[in-house]
């Protein structure tokens, strides 16, 4: 069967054409979204003099060292001291500056969590937390650098805004949007390159999910790097005669409840897919919404109750159950449950 491009939305045509290629992830043009953030914040700085960048000795790894080169008086490297950096960002924000505090996601969401909660979120200060190496996107570095719970943690903070974009252009758009947003925003980026799915006209709006594929047999709601795997899964399922809706949930919070409920009503079955532990992230958020409003069969793809390990990024996320074959199985299961009414 050939791919039906009219089912797909927002995707670059060349991406749609390749969705059934066995080597999709090696053939597509890929960019690590951490670098897109660094580009975007540099562009923003030209327009808004209140934007400053804070680093914690990983500016070379995120490319914010380019910001430091261009704006030496607007970049502050705190060294290996993430807690100090986060609380200092809060202090800067009290004066009207818009600090982008950049570090790895494990350190942003865990090492400096107390500062992020009590000094940034509680006073609702305008700090943008730029978290690279999010989820299990750092493969070879191993568990201490894999932020497999960053989205759950950040989502649990009152009044937080949590963003997990799928590719490079949407990451740039998210960074622009974060600068205009009133209050703290958690932006998460991939360490490894991920396929470029969209162009810069992608309709990015904080809190609004984006429909990527039509379908009425079931819906896959995915975020961050797993959006691409969800698309590959949907195309595989299409070849087997299933018509699957795919939605990019780039904003985990505030959650687009309306779009979830519409998908629930129209497709009657939902699979969530995320590169994050199954506790408290996208799967939990969607499940909470469904249980309270419109209970239907649902399955969750995510890291189970385990830590992962070192290995090449795609091999690790495959071993820990996050890639398209796992999503395909979950979708078949949820459709089975929908049919049998269980």
């Amino acid at each position: 069967m050939t791919i039906n491009p009219s089912r797909y939305h927002q995707l670059l045509p060349e991406v749609v054409q390749m969705l059934d290629a066995p080597d999709f992830f090696t053939r597509t043009k890929s960019i690590a979204t951490r670098f897109s953030y660094a580009e975007a914040v540099l562009e923003l700085a030209e327009r808004n003099s209140r934007i400053v960048v804070l680093d914690a000795d990983v500016s070379k790894s995120i490319n914010t060292n380019k910001f430091a080169d261009k704006y030496p008086d607007r970049e502050f490297n705190f060294g290996i001291a993430e807690q100090n950096m986060m609380a200092a960002a809060a202090g800067m924000a009290t004066t009207g500056l818009i600090p982008f505090a950049s570090t790895y996601a494990v350190f942003a969401s865990l090492r400096a969590l107390d500062q992020v909660r009590n000094s940034i979120h509680y006073p609702h200060l305008n700090v943008k937390i730029a978290a690279s190496h999010s989820g299990i996107t750092p493969g070879p570095d191993g568990v201490t650098h894999q932020a497999q719970e960053d989205l759950s943690i950040m989502r649990s903070l009152a009044t937080s805004t949590v963003i997990a974009t799928a590719d490079a252009p949407s990451t740039k758009l998210a960074t622009y949007a974060a600068a205009d947003w009133d209050g703290p925003v958690y932006l998460s980026f991939t360490r490894d390159p991920v396929p470029v799915l969209f162009d810069i006209n992608y309709p990015f709006q904080i809190g609004k999910m984006v429909l990527l594929r039509d379908g009425n047999d079931a819906t896959i709601i995915a975020n961050r790097d797993i959006v691409a795997h969800a698309l590959v899964a949907a195309e595989k399922l299409a070849q087997e005669g299933f018509d699957i809706r795919v939605i990019d949930c780039h904003t985990l919070k505030p959650l687009d409840v309306e779009t979830i409920l519409q998908a629930a009503r129209e497709t009657g079955a939902i699979v969530t897919a995320e590169n994050n532990i199954i506790f408290g992230g996208l799967g939990s958020a969607v499940a909470e919404t469904l249980v309270e409003n419109y209970p239907i069969p649902m399955q969750r793809i995510g890291v189970q109750d385990t830590f992962a390990e070192s290995g090449p990024y795609l091999q690790v996320i495959d071993k820990y159950g996050l890639t398209s074959p796992h999503i395909v199985r979950a979708v078949k299961r949820v459709i089975e449950r929908k049919k049998s009414g269980r």
């Binding site: 680093d55 000795d57 990983v58 500016s59 070379k60 790894s61 060292n65 490297n77 705190f78 060294g79 290996i80 001291a81 807690q83 100090n84 494990v106 350190f107 090492r111 070879p140 570095d141 191993g142 568990v143 201490t144 650098h145 390990e309 070192s310 290995g311 090449p312 091999q315 690790v316 071993k319």
Partner: protein
Amino acid sequence: MIDKKLSVPELEQMAKQIRRDIIDMIFTANAGHPGGSLSATDILTALYFRMMRIEIQNPQWEDRDRFILSKGHACPVWYATLANRGFYDRAHLKTLRKLNSLLQGHADMKKTPGVDMTVGSLGQGFSAGVGMSLAARYLKKDFHVWVMIGDGEMQEGAVWEAAMAGAKWKLDNLTAILDKNGLQNDTFIEKVMPIEPVADKWRAFGWNVIEIDGHNMTQIVSTLDCALTIKGVPTIIIANTIKGKGVSFMENQPEWHGKAPNAEQYRQAMQELGVAQ
């Protein structure tokens, strides 16, 4: 029991072998941290091949001396040292950072025989060392705890929390070793976040401070011996080192913090380190 106590010339030969293994591992993995591994090599060699009371057949022996590489990204030096010491086959070194490997990107005590503490998030291993020292005292055990920290790592506030605790409890069964190579991830420490005067800071925190050349094996051995004799106060050895030591183009170059050599650089590095035995 110590089944091996190498002489200074033998230690120097072993350090060379370990340096070759480090380059080989990182080249094979095409990732990892050569600079901080090479700066720490001479000290780890002396610890494992002369100082530490360990049983390679029984890595979990409860009376063994402990070592914690708090700057856990430099684990290639730890892995190569443990392999050469006989904790596992050297063939494992080729599996660094691969799926299902004993050798994780940052050291994992549940996976690698001989690794006494899981590390990788900077500024935690030192506190774990404080905990082990306190436990030894409570359990009336006479093992010694060695912890190596990085000079960039010293910027973490938790390092100073551990330093206060070490002084409060007069942990003379704990020795910290500072790998003072002057560099961190982004660039030179002096540019990112100055830490001087280092020796004065540790003294002010109540530590006995000894400064050495971290690549002079005779000095390393005599200083490690000396650290064991100091009672009633914790000791820190400030080892002045060169990041990337032994490979000319890596020495003191910020870019070699976390980068693998290409084929040409690999050949040159191995040549400089002498042909493998």
